[in-house]
Amino acid sequence: MSVSGSESALWRGRSVPSFRETAASNTRGVVPTRDEIAVELAVARARTAVVPALTTYDLRAYYGSTEILHGVNLAFPYRQVTAIIGPSGCGKSTLLRCLNRMHELTPGASVKGRVLLGNQDIYAPDVDPVALRRKIGMVFQRPNPFPTMSIFDNVAAALRWHRVVRRHELADRVEQALRMAALWDEVKDRLHENALGLSGGQQQRLCIARALAIEPEILLMDEPASALDPISTGHIEELIVQLRSRYTVLIVTHNMQQAARISDYTAFMLMGELIEFSPTATLFTNPSDSRTEAYVTGRFG
């Protein structure tokens, strides 16, 4: 049945995407459908061949007439964690915000170039940014739970907007998302309390759960642990490593150790340009660019 045993076991162990629920409730039981097999095949190929999930071509971002990104060409590998590092002001957050079209929301900001999600240009005129952002979730630097909602409602908010699940499934989906964000055990007894009662780290995991609940393909994280204490940071890092099997994760971080610990690939940026993109181990131990070396060895930045 399975092309890759471990892959499949992982999927059975955590039941999230709805197509698997369909499979589970299928009267044919364990016999996989043709679609299921096709998908698993595709996934397995993706894992071994480094298929890009998101590709940028000559991506340029502007604030007014100032160019902040000077033509970035990058292919973010499918279902891998890619870290984007660089000194502050190098444009790494802007790059991230270009990928789910949040950058253009800032007044005066604009974007040139192409970003492909799979084979679709997300800046094509017929692409609706609202639909896009459902596919590309984002977690921000500071935890920003909705203060007027309970923990449950925070996670359920987007599900309700998108009406992706029926009402009676809502609780299940919220629980799944919270479990995936490793928050369930801590909040299951107080789901209907205000989200602001959580600690900073819990709030951030809540925000991650909120983003995961609508099952995006890609998760963008903008320094998700920079406002947190070391223990919470550890939780978030563990979480990212686990998410890797199911999501393409892009994480901006100023913390090189963090990038080295959790990412498969690392992109190093400097002054709005991509300097180097390599597997993480290579970038940190054997960088091909002298500027990368200078940065990772702490000589500047």
Partner: protein, 300 residues
């Protein structure tokens, strides 16, 4: 298998042509609410234009040199002006400014330069609360503290009422303007060895002057249009008077009296007087807006 796209690295559901009914409904809701908000703006602005247009049409035709230079004529005759009301308004507003401006400005200096802690917060709150007190109540207050002791209506009482009304307006705008002065300017002054009060008087206030002046003009424009507090303080006067201790005419009260009279000719003059008031408000508001903008540029 509707969710297959989740597992293929292709965003097939992105194009708007393929979106679901739910999404179309959400988009429609978005459009609808945007439309409603735009409609609300239209509804809110229509009366403004109606007022401006009717004031321009009816008011402008009533204006001529006589309007500004002649006294009112007896009912039945045409022509005549509102000289006494214009002079009266000038005196009342002058008095009000004399009372309201110093209090407003000095308390603004206190709030902006020293204001912290419970006292300052309370004063700020009271300033805001005071600007919400109905002007007619301020009129009663002026009546109680000026008309009662003097036993007759007077320009002075009207001036006091207007002055009290002016205080919160001046305080709020002036505090804002003083706060806009960059901290670096204050530090420069202190670094030169100036005591703080000299820094405030010689550096901060001149830097904020244009803003404060336009803020004061805004306040003047506001009290110049006040009617209710004058009704039983300055009362009205059919004759020319400049005495502070006697009742005095004023444009807003004249407008009210004329408007509620049954005579066409007086209505015409009321529209003329309204035109004058509205122009004053329009110009001061435009100036204030310009000053605020330059204030922001200064801050950058």
């Amino acid at each position: 298998m509707k969710d297959v796209s989740v597992f293929t690295p292709a965003g097939r559901l992105l194009s708007s042509g393929l979106v679901s009914a739910v999404y179309r409904r959400r988009r429609l809701m978005d459009l609808l609410m945007t439309g409603l908000a735009g409609l609300a703006v239209l509804v809110a602005v229509v009366p403004l234009f109606s007022i401006l247009i009717s004031v321009a049409i009816r008011g402008l035709s009533a204006l001529n040199l006589d309007f500004f230079t002649k006294m009112p004529v007896p009912i039945g005759e045409t022509g005549g002006g509102v000289l006494n009301a214009i002079v009266g308004s000038g005196i009342l507003v002058g008095l009000g400014t004399l009372i309201g401006l110093p209090i407003g400005l000095l308390s603004a200096i206190y709030l902006a330069e020293y204001g912290r802690g419970r006292l300052a917060d309370t004063i700020r709150l009271f300033t805001e609360v005071m600007s919400g007190v109905p002007s007619i109540v301020v009129g009663i207050f002026a009546y109680a503290i000026v008309v009662r002791p003097l036993h007759h209506f007077s320009a002075l009482a009207g001036g006091v009422a207007l002055g009290i009304l002016m205080i919160p307006v001046v305080t709020r705008t002036a505090e804002e303007m003083i706060r806009m002065v960059p901290q670096s300017l204050r530090e420069a002054g202190l670094a030169l060895g100036l005591p703080r009060w000299r820094v405030t008087v010689s550096i901060v206030l001149p830097s904020a002057a244009s803003g404060i002046v336009t803020g004061a003009m805004l306040a003047v424009a506001r009290i110049a249009g006040e009617t209710a507090p004058l009704l039983f303080t300055a009362l009205n006067n059919a004759f020319f008077s400049t005495s502070l201790l006697r009742p005095i005419a004023s444009l807003p009260v004249q407008i009210y009296t004329y408007a509620t009279s049954p005579y066409e000719e007086l209505h015409r003059i009321a529209w003329g007087a309204v035109f004058v008031l509205v122009m004053m408000v329009l110009i001061t508001n435009l100036l204030t807006r310009l000053a605020v903008r330059s204030g922001y540029e200064m801050k950058r």
